[in-house]
């Protein structure tokens, strides 16, 4: 079988890594018809089967995905935009300043990555600005739950070697708001990364490059990195509001202690999670974010929750 790895594409043409070479393939017409529920049926990280007439290659089949990162498409409600798939590590990048650390955004993605069973690491960048007490509280909170939090500074080259080690030989996705320094981090891991980005980018803004399209890049350490667009709103595609509790590890752990088996941890009597949030056993901000995400999932259940058929 002609198996290839999708690096990037635009919905019709895809650049894939095939037998050590990068080649451009076209999406087979049949695949275009399977996109009723999905915006971009093929995404970076997909393993695909190629067909060839000896001259050109056609992307004929997307092989089963181990996991995926997706969000509701900006246009056409109920359509899913798959950003990446088959991810070994999701590297969630936040920064301490400009933009400030946004736990609401982090917790949405953490819940989603738990659902998709993607191992996730949190990178807190720009620590050269200093980590204030509030951010320290968040960082300690995530560490207490069991997440690995890596504090980095591109400017002062702090802990970049840890990111390099994690990404070695793996497919990793970098996810984070615009301006947190994802591209700068990647540049430091692989100095040729910037050139690779510029070579393939068709976007520029007054000379300053900003990632606009998700792409998988081969790094000099043998790994693949997915550089994703800055995301303002992360939709919880395919998650049921009743399932959310299972994707907050600290809440999931306490659930058996609740009075009611089907407790949703919002306002039920005898809820062990509410009790733990009140006495500081679980970080207050996590519980607040749980409630916010729960509410958003409940209100948008017709939009987000659409189980795979």
């Amino acid at each position: 079988m002609n198996k290839a790895l999708v690096l990037y594409g635009n919905g019709i043409d895809y650049t894939v890594s095939y037998e050590g070479n990068e080649i451009i393939t076209h999406l087979k017409g049949r695949l275009l018809h399977t996109t009723k529920r999905s915006h971009h049926p093929v995404c970076p990280g997909d393993f695909v089967r190629l067909e060839t007439d000896g001259k050109d290659y056609v992307l004929a089949e997307v092989l089963p995905r181990i996991n995926k990162i997706s969000r509701p498409a900006n246009y056409g409600i109920r359509k899913e935009q798959v950003i990446a798939s088959n991810i070994d590590y999701l590297i969630l990048v936040a920064s301490v300043y400009s933009p400030k650390l946004n736990t609401g955004f982090l917790d949405r993605i953490l819940a989603y990555s738990n659902m998709q069973q993607i191992e996730t690491k949190i990178v807190v960048n720009k620590i050269d600005y200093g980590i204030c007490d509030e951010e320290l509280y968040y960082i300690d909170g995530y560490r207490k739950i069991g997440y690995e939090v890596i504090e980095t500074s591109v400017l002062e080259n702090i802990n970049i070697e840890i990111i390099n080690e994690i990404t070695k030989g793996k497919i990793s996705a970098f996810l984070g708001n615009s301006g947190v320094g994802k591209s700068s981090l990647l540049n430091l891991i692989d100095p040729s990364f910037k050139q690779k980005v510029n070579d393939t980018s068709s976007y520029s803004l007054k000379g300053k490059h900003t990632t606009k399209q998700a792409r998988l890049f081969k790094l000099s350490n043998g790994g693949y990195i997915l550089d994703t667009p800055g995301i303002r709103e992360f939709g919880m595609w395919n998650m049921d509001f009743e399932e959310l509790k299972n994707f907050f590890p600290e809440i999931y752990k306490l659930s058996p202690e609740c009075k009611y088996q089907n407790c949703l941890h919002t306002n039920e009597p005898g809820c062990a999670v509410i009790k733990a949030a009140n006495n500081g056993e679980i970080p207050e901000f996590r519980y607040e974010n749980y409630l916010k995400i729960f509410q958003s999932l409940y209100e948008n259940r017709h939009l987000y929750f659409k189980k795979d058929q």
Partner: protein
């Protein structure tokens, strides 16, 4: 009569708005300057008084705002109101008087910092400009849109305290980075060491660690006058009129 009272009250308010005491250090010695009495006390790191020196012969008039030692042979004393900086020798005797206001027409901030053998870093009284003075040539290095609160410079760089951040510059004046601080703390002065930066707010000192990038807060009963050597924080208690130290 009313005019005389007004003039006296204005003089008193001006006098007490200035720091009566300042602290600095060089090597393992701590210098406590009593600017009003023009007296310098030298302590060792165990807070034992080693020497008491009268500085009245340096200038009969005025008030001393700041003392800093650059090396065993050069120290500087500032009288910001008169716009003079006094260069002292190894015996802390007057070597040279630098009349900044008279020569260059600028009012100076009360702190000056020797950054090289014959080079001083000076700031404007309005706290919006930073200059270097080399062999009597004054050169503007930085201009701040928002006035700074305090500055400190040493061989490792220049640290400018603003309401919301500390801007760090290399010794060559190249911008390195900003450190964001909590503006609600009302920070009033800054002092860098090898391991980090101390920032003083009313009754509290915050240490920013260069390695961990984290802030550590410590409440204390001190004044705004402080210095630090390694992890020892020295301050002058204006209540007890004693020099004290805290290990952070």
């Amino acid at each position: 009569m009313k005019i005389i009272f007004f003039a006296i009250s204005l003089m008193i308010s001006q006098l007490f708005s200035r720091e009566n005491f300042t602290l600095s250090n060089f090597g393992d010695q701590i210098y406590l300057l009593n600017g009003f009495d023009k007296e310098l006390k030298i302590f060792d790191m165990n807070l034992t008084l080693q020497k008491k020196i009268s500085l009245k012969n340096i200038s009969q008039s005025g008030f001393f705002d700041f003392f800093i030692r650059y090396d065993p042979f050069r120290s500087y004393i500032v009288d910001s109101e008169s716009g003079n900086i006094f260069l002292l020798d190894e015996n802390l005797a007057l070597k040279k008087r630098l009349e900044i206001e008279k020569s260059h027409g600028i009012r100076i901030y009360r702190k000056v910092f020797p950054i090289d053998y014959n080079s001083l870093l000076i700031a404007s009284y309005e706290k919006d400009k930073i200059y270097t003075l080399e062999n009597n040539f004054l050169k503007e290095r930085l201009s701040c849109d928002d006035g700074f609160i305090d500055i400190y410079a040493d061989r490792n760089g220049l640290y400018i305290l603003f309401e919301k951040m500390i801007s760090v510059y290399s010794p060559e004046g190249i911008f390195k980075n900003n450190i964001i601080i909590d503006k609600t703390k009302n920070y009033e002065s800054i002092y860098p060491t090898i391991s980090g930066i101390f920032i003083k707010s009313p009754n509290e000192v915050t240490e920013f660690s260069f390695s961990s990038k984290k802030f550590k807060h410590l409440k204390y009963d001190g004044s705004s006058v402080f210095t630090a050597i390694d992890s020892l924080f020295y301050y002058f208690s204006e209540d007890s009129l004693k020099l004290k130290a805290i290990k952070l």
